[in-house]
């Protein structure tokens, strides 16, 4: 039973994620999470003004159900399956974070510095999260997929375009972490 509370190993997680992608392919669908953002936009009716959102979002309802399941899964895992020993990242990483003024995990999934509820009182923190979200939404649609659509689905189907997207993801991520983090924090 102890296993349930500990950090699950990468090989189990990776295998299950691969099987989830294959499961959706077997259901006649594709594994891609960022498409839901487009469906959510289309649900508001903006398709009348912007052609990109003029499609039958109801045909994507299955994917929104996947998202709903994922949200419930996140709730169950955090509420009933976590332990203070979780998120045991590299001590060197923790030291680096300390120099940026970011708190250590101590079992938490997210740093308080960025995701504690006090951030709602800080215009800078609100701005950072909204901008980060904007880049994710804009970038994933521009690239035609995110981690699930390109890194998992695309690479599994040996798609060169997806490799280009993943290279883009990493260049962006490294620029953020190495050059922009010291300026932001």
């Amino acid at each position: 039973m102890n296993f349930i509370y500990q950090t699950w190993p990468w090989y189990i997680s990776g295998f299950v994620i691969g099987m989830i992608m294959l499961c959706l392919v077997y259901f006649g669908k594709t594994f891609g999470m960022s498409s839901n953002l487009r469906s959510l936009c289309a649900m508001t009716g903006v398709g009348k003004r912007v052609a990109f959102f003029d499609f039958n979002w109801k045909s994507q309802r299955w994917n929104l159900i996947v998202v709903l399941g994922a949200m419930v899964g996140g709730f169950i895992a955090v509420t009933y399956m976590s332990a203070p020993s979780n998120v045991a990242i590299n001590p060197k990483t923790i030291q680096q974070l300390a120099t940026l003024g970011i708190d250590a995990p101590n079992g938490k999934l997210l740093p308080n510095t960025l995701f504690g509820n006090q951030i709602f009182h800080s215009p800078k923190s609100i701005f950072l999260l909204v901008i980060g979200g904007f880049l994710i939404g804009f970038g994933s649609r521009y690239a035609g997929g995110c981690t699930s659509g390109h890194a998992i689905s695309g690479l599994s189907n040996l798609q060169l375009p997806s490799l280009k997207a993943v290279i883009g993801f990493f260049i962006g991520g490294l620029i953020m972490v190495y050059f922009l983090f010291p300026l932001i924090f």
Partner: protein, 137 residues
């Protein structure tokens, strides 16, 4: 009940991503610092599992659940959109520490500040929709 299997797939996805900490901001930062194998292991095994599965599906011409042939579409063969779009995505991924799946998973887990990330992501998606024809692909 047709939708239940999708709910179940999502449920497992949410639990596994949370329990393996792929939804953790810390794990993403650690990955971009190359200070742990954990995230690379997850992505690597997922892709390896996927490659084997997709090859089996293609070679045995496996039919889907409704008995229809499975067609896996190739991605559009261009370059600019993948590098440029990918770059934008990567900047956001590293800053917020979550990609679209984890945004929803963490919201479900009750991390309220993720609402801000979701709003940003919807606005970003909307802006792409508006600017699409003016952007290089």
């Amino acid at each position: 009940m047709k939708g239940f299997k999708y709910f179940l797939v999502g449920l497992i996805f949410g639990i596994v991503l949370t329990k393996s900490e792929a939804v953790s901001w810390y794990r993403i930062y650690e990955m971009f610092q190359f200070q742990s194998f954990h995230m690379y292991g997850i992505i690597g095994v997922a892709v390896a599992t996927g490659i084997v599965g997709i090859q089996i599906i293609k070679q045995k011409k496996v039919k889907d659940i409704e008995g229809l042939p499975i067609a896996i579409l190739d991605k559009e063969k261009v370059a600019a959109r993948y590098y440029i779009g990918g770059l934008f995505f990567g900047l956001g991924w590293a800053l917020v520490g979550s990609c679209p799946g984890p945004i929803f998973i963490l919201l479900g887990a009750g991390f309220l500040p993720l609402v801000l990330v979701l709003i940003g992501a919807l606005v970003g998606t909307f802006c792409y929709g508006v600017l699409k024809d003016k952007l290089p692909h």
